[in-house]
């Protein structure tokens, strides 16, 4: 351990007082303007006509359908990406192979591509005029403008979260403990369950939480493939948009406030778990 506390810069690195205060003010102003104010506005508008109207908007039939759909999509996309993320992280950190760099870039692709483009790709693939469209129509499988399309688009967009969280963690931890488990006679599964999973545990939870937050909040890609069928293919973010476009401002903000609440909850959870991950990483390094 380095004895100096890196969070506290030495006197030599300390900026003059006026500069510190200026920077701090600018940062705080930005946070207030772009984060706090909108959040206050969301709750302000949501409750502007009182508690009962908010409750009615949230308990509305279509709103409830949107909430159910959002949860269903997350319940499918998140486990899928968890599985994929663990497998990809394992592959990238435990094996040397040709095209590893390419795979790493591909994992990041959903971050780089605009979600709308991602949505369009699925329309071009599975839509009525798409490559697989005729075949799908023949077999009476509906993907675009239906729940499977929304699941696909969400899965695509939330693809990198778990893998991105695990790869640096597993790289830092190394594989000696897994090797030790193997020399002690553990099977591949026993090694994974008894050694790897506990090691990456909190990092995995962290990645899953981020993945889940994004899955619930995703708008662009889902908007392209959903078709906005009320009560059927509208997720919460889409439902907010529909309500807003119909000048039902209070109802729109009521549903939006639910999303905001969820985001705040995620933030707190993320902070708590991020702290545990860092602590686990600290004790990992041999003294």
């Amino acid at each position: 351990m380095v004895p100096t506390d890196i969070r506290r810069p030495s006197a030599a690195l300390r900026d003059p007082r006026w500069l510190r205060w200026t920077l701090l003010s600018i940062a705080l102003a930005f946070v207030a303007l772009f984060l706090v104010l909108p959040l206050v506005a969301v709750f302000g508008y949501a409750f502007e006509k009182g508690w009962e109207v908010w409750l009615a908007s949230v308990m509305d039939e279509e709103a409830r359908a949107a909430i159910r759909l959002t949860l269903l999509v997350a319940a499918i996309a998140v486990p899928l990406n968890t599985l994929f993320g663990v497998a990809a992280a394992w592959l990238v950190t435990r094996y040397a192979f040709r095209g590893k760099g390419l795979l790493l870039s591909l994992i990041d692709l959903p971050f780089a591509v605009s979600p709308v483009v991602a949505g369009l790709v699925f329309v071009l693939l599975f839509g009525r005029q798409g490559w697989l469209g005729p075949w799908l129509a023949e077999h009476d499988v509906k993907i675009i403008f239906a729940v499977p399309g929304i699941v696909l688009a969400t899965t695509f967009v939330t693809f990198p979260f778990v893998a991105r969280e695990l790869i640096p963690l597993m790289q830092a931890q190394g594989a000696d403990e897994e090797r030790a488990a193997l020399t002690l006679g553990a099977s591949g599964w026993a090694m994974f369950r008894r050694v790897t999973l506990p090691k990456i545990g909190w990092g995995l939870v962290y990645g899953v939480i981020l993945c889940n937050a994004r899955a619930i909040g995703e708008f662009g890609a889902v908007s392209v493939v959903s078709g906005h069928i009320r009560g059927l293919t509208n997720t919460m973010p889409l439902h907010v948009e529909v309500l807003y476009n119909e000048y039902q401002r209070t109802a729109a903000f009521a549903v939006a406030s639910l999303l905001a609440l969820f985001a705040l909850f995620t933030l707190v959870l993320k902070q708590l778990i991020g702290w545990r991950v860092r602590r686990a990483a600290d004790t990992e390094t041999p003294a």
Binding site: E177, R179, A180, T183, L184, G185, S187, P286
Partner: protein, 355 residues
């Protein structure tokens, strides 16, 4: 159980790490792989463990070919350099791990596991630490947990990768004497990797000195020290003076052949006379006094070690001109040692002679 390694080649990509290794470890032996970092010793150990697979060559245990057998089926105990303990498990559970993951048919009963783990913890003198976690232990204690964990599955072969590398000097000394004692009791065939020649000498029955993917010499410590097979071995086993010398063979008539005499500091003496050598520095090391001198033709200073009382009556002070004498030297012609019979029939015509 004996280990036979034959014709092992291994490369990381295009960089060869092992270039034709042949080695036999006898049953019950404690053998050290000694060499500088990057010489391939750890790779060789991992190949024996089944953690790496060689590009060419075979590994056999007791004559049974295990080259293609995975780690899990080789039943070797492996102690990692940085312990690789399971940090989320207690000391007890770390040691019990190898027993708990067995197929249920082979798994000992719960009380049997309990008894065996307790016995092992007593063996490594950590009986009171069963419920601690690895992060609450010192380096030496962690290493002993790692050892107990490896021994729990009753391996017939124990492999140790720089087992004391991460410990401070005092703990390292204690632990290696303890390990030697343990080996004398349980006689598990053991192979361990180290870059520290002192450690190899103190622990091992035999030592394989490795360099650039090859075994330079395999011998017991004494032979290694007195009859090094190459200048590399000679240099690696401790500080040594390299002096140009001329060898005069009585029988061949070849006059004054150029050789290099390797002289250990404790075999070198500075006497009255003048060989063009001047004392340049004297440093008191406690038990010994280190005297450095310089000869105009040599790049490196000459180093001699004197026991402190002998130094006291030697009168060697900085600035004095002296002659040199070697009590014992090892001669090399190029990279090949000059063997004993030849040496007996020759006369060493003065050190520092440029033929």
């Amino acid at each position: 159980m004996s280990i036979d390694v034959t014709g092992i080649h291994y490369a990381y990509g295009s960089a060869p790490a092992l270039r034709g290794i042949d080695l036999r470890v006898e049953s019950g032996e404690l053998l050290a792989l000694l060499g500088p970092s990057g010489c391939g010793k750890t790779t060789l150990l991992r190949i024996v463990a089944g953690l790496e697979f060689p590009d060419r060559g075979r590994v056999a245990f007791n004559g049974r070919d295990v080259t293609d057998v995975g780690t899990r089926e080789r039943h070797v105990g492996f102690v990692f350099q940085h312990y690789a303990l399971f940090n989320h498990l207690s000391v007890f559970e770390n040691v019990a791990f190898g027993l708990r993951v067995r197929r249920w048919r082979l798994r000992p009963r719960r009380d049997e596991i309990d008894r065996r783990v307790r016995d092992l913890l007593d063996l490594v003198q950590l009986g009171d630490y069963a419920h601690r976690f690895p992060s609450q232990l010192s380096g030496g204690q962690r290493q002993r947990v790692a050892l107990a964990r490896a021994l729990a599955v009753e391996p017939e072969i124990l492999l140790l990768d720089e087992p004391f590398g991460a410990l401070d000097a005092r703990v390292r000394g204690d632990l290696r004497r303890w390990l030697r004692g343990l080996h004398d009791r349980i006689h598990t065939t053991s192979l361990f990797v180290t870059h520290d020649q002192e450690e190899a000498f103190e622990l091992a029955d035999r030592i394989a000195v490795m360099n650039q993917g090859r075994i330079e010499q395999l011998a017991d410590p004494q032979t290694l020290y007195t009859h090094p097979a190459s200048p590399f071995v000679c240099r690696f086993l401790g500080e040594v003076n390299e002096l140009p010398a001329a060898l005069h063979a009585h029988w061949s008539g070849i006059d004054d052949e150029r050789v290099t005499a390797f002289v250990r500091p404790h075999d070198l003496e500075f006497d009255d006379g003048n060989d063009g050598v001047r004392i340049e520095g004297v440093r008191d090391l406690g038990a010994n006094v280190r005297v450095e001198a310089r000869h105009p033709l040599l790049e490196q200073p000459l180093v001699a070690l004197y026991p402190r009382d002998r130094y006291a009556c030697s009168g060697l002070v900085v600035g004095r001109s002296v002659a040199i004498a070697a009590r014992r030297s090892m001669l090399f012609r190029g990279d090949a040692p000059v063997d004993a019979p030849e040496r007996a029939g020759s006369a060493l015509r003065g050190l520092l002679t440029r033929a």
